[in-house]
């Protein structure tokens, strides 16, 4: 087994935890000394990890937005003078909220880049590889760090921002790209585009490693991407609020996403009681950043639902605990439909199980007082497939797997939206209808 940083990745747990505590003390000191926001929230006399989790309040997105509004664009949150920042990024600002805006120093970017290197090296990326990052290179922090990580490792990067899918496919094939970074949704889009171009990616391209991040995904989506590209798909995740990658999937155990623990303390709390849950139990990820100096996080309630397992359950030798299956879903993704709890990934698991599905979208509406799921499916013709019965078969499988019979209709080719970044395939229209 090879590691990017053998010492940090294989450090005995007791040493790692002691190191985290020392790092936390310094992070707390830095925050209290330099950030008005944190000075108000953080006690100055925290004596232990237990004391920390007992006395420091959970941080919610609304808290950051409120701090931002006090002195836009960055508000009272930064622990640096924003003039020292070398890069601005921001979230999309969904649901009518303003975006979370961040500013990072050169030091922050080298750390962030290093988290990508840690992940990429574990996945098997090496200096001789050629890589392509298929995203927009814009305000979203997204895969910027992967671009820099590939460069730092000595790989050759083909920047693919601002290009359409056909051009990206052509680059993949022409340059023999071996490493690709994208979202699972966009990987599906590239597969579809390649088919339209008459290109068999598994045979004509040379992709070996795909870092598919930023979205929960179903096992069928992963399988479809791997088969179409003839490559191994790895999961990884970071956030704009955190500023780097906090977990990456290990090649030694499918779904085991190691936490980069020198950079983060990860609590997993019960979504309703807020109490810690044990290894193997579902809970919400609460993160404390230990490395980023500009925009610090202490006990950030992320809304990510995860299951943590001890490092030893993976055979790779790392001492970093892992999230089994990565981010399983978002707390606010769960919908109650006729008493049944449904998530977008559950739906994707059903619909992507049909090879004839090219794209789909789902909505929930109230029809004469009854919650109804509508699935719109864009079909494609495959050998042995039968599009005429597709809607019925999807409805039956949906009922069998999830317990609700949806209304399934076929959509004309090319009519459903394709997205490069975090796809939203489930719209809940019940609240819209009930508004006056």
């Amino acid at each position: 087994m090879e590691y990017w940083n053998p010492k940090a990745e294989t450090m005995p747990r007791h040493e790692l935890e002691a190191w985290q505590w020392r790092r936390l003390q310094r992070a707390l000191h830095h925050a209290r000394a330099r950030s008005p926001f944190w000075r108000e929230r953080l006690p100055g006399d925290i004596t232990s990890m237990e004391d920390y989790v007992r006395r420091v309040p959970l941080l919610h997105k609304a808290d950051l937005l409120a701090a931002e509004q006090q002195a836009p664009p960055y508000g009272t949150w930064p622990s640096i003078d924003p003039a020292r920042g070398i890069r601005h990024h921001q979230t999309s600002g969904t649901s009518g909220n303003p975006p979370i805006r961040t500013i990072d120093t050169a030091g922050d970017w080298t750390w962030s880049t290093d988290t990508f290197c840690t992940a990429l090296y574990a996945m098997g990326v090496r200096p001789h590889h050629k890589g392509m990052v298929a995203f927009g290179y814009g305000l979203f922090m997204g895969f910027w760090g992967m671009h820099y990580g590939l460069e730092r490792m000595g790989c050759t990067v083909v920047p693919a921002g601002g290009l359409d899918s056909r051009t990206r496919i052509k680059l993949l094939v022409d340059y023999g790209i071996e490493v690709v970074g994208l979202t699972p949704s966009y990987a599906m889009r590239l597969i579809e585009t390649a088919r339209e171009m008459g290109i068999d990616l598994a045979k004509e391209a040379n992709v070996k490693i795909i870092l598919a991040g930023a979205e929960p995904r179903s096992k069928f989506t992963t399988r479809t991407i791997e088969e179409a590209f003839g490559a191994r798909v790895f999961n990884a995740a970071g956030t704009t609020e955190f500023g780097g990658v906090f977990m990456f999937e290990c090649p030694s155990r499918r779904g085991a996403c190691h936490i980069i623990e020198p950079s983060t303390i990860e609590e997993v709390l019960h979504p309703e009681t807020g109490l810690p849950v044990g290894y193997g139990e579902e809970g919400v990820r609460v993160t404390t950043g230990l490395s980023r100096e500009g925009m610090q996080l202490f006990r950030h309630w992320t809304e990510d639902v995860v299951v943590k397992r001890p490092a030893a359950a993976c055979g790779c030798g790392r001492t970093w605990d892992f999230y089994d299956g990565g981010i399983i879903r978002r707390v606010d993704d769960m919908r109650k439909i006729r008493g049944v709890s449904v998530t977008p990934v559950m739906i994707e698991d059903v619909v992507r199980g049909f090879d004839e599905v090219s794209e789909f979208s789902t909505s929930i509406s109230s029809v004469r007082g009854l919650d109804t799921v509508f699935v719109r499916v864009e079909p494609r013709h495959v050998p042995g497939g039968d599009v005429t019965t597709l809607a019925r078969r999807i409805a039956e499988e949906f009922k069998r797997e999830i317990g609700i019979r949806p209304e399934v209709e076929l959509a004309p080719e090319g009519t459903l939206p394709r997205q490069e970044w975090k796809a939203a395939r489930l719209r809940d229209e019940r609240a819209l209808v009930s508004q006056p």
Binding site: P6, K7, S79, A106, T110, W111, S291
Partner: protein, 63 residues
Amino acid sequence: MTNAHSFLSPEQEARLLGAYTALKELSADCPVPAVGAAVTMALAELRTALDGQGVEFDYFSTV
């Protein structure tokens, strides 16, 4: 092939830290913009490298 125990030796670690310290001193009163910018970036890189080796020094030193 394994690098599981390929740690830096104490001497290598000390040299890395020494390079960081020397650059930090240089950055304090560097009169040449081009050199100052290079030193800033080099300090950021060295700090990340040292951090990955578990060397504890001035975190949050505002590079």
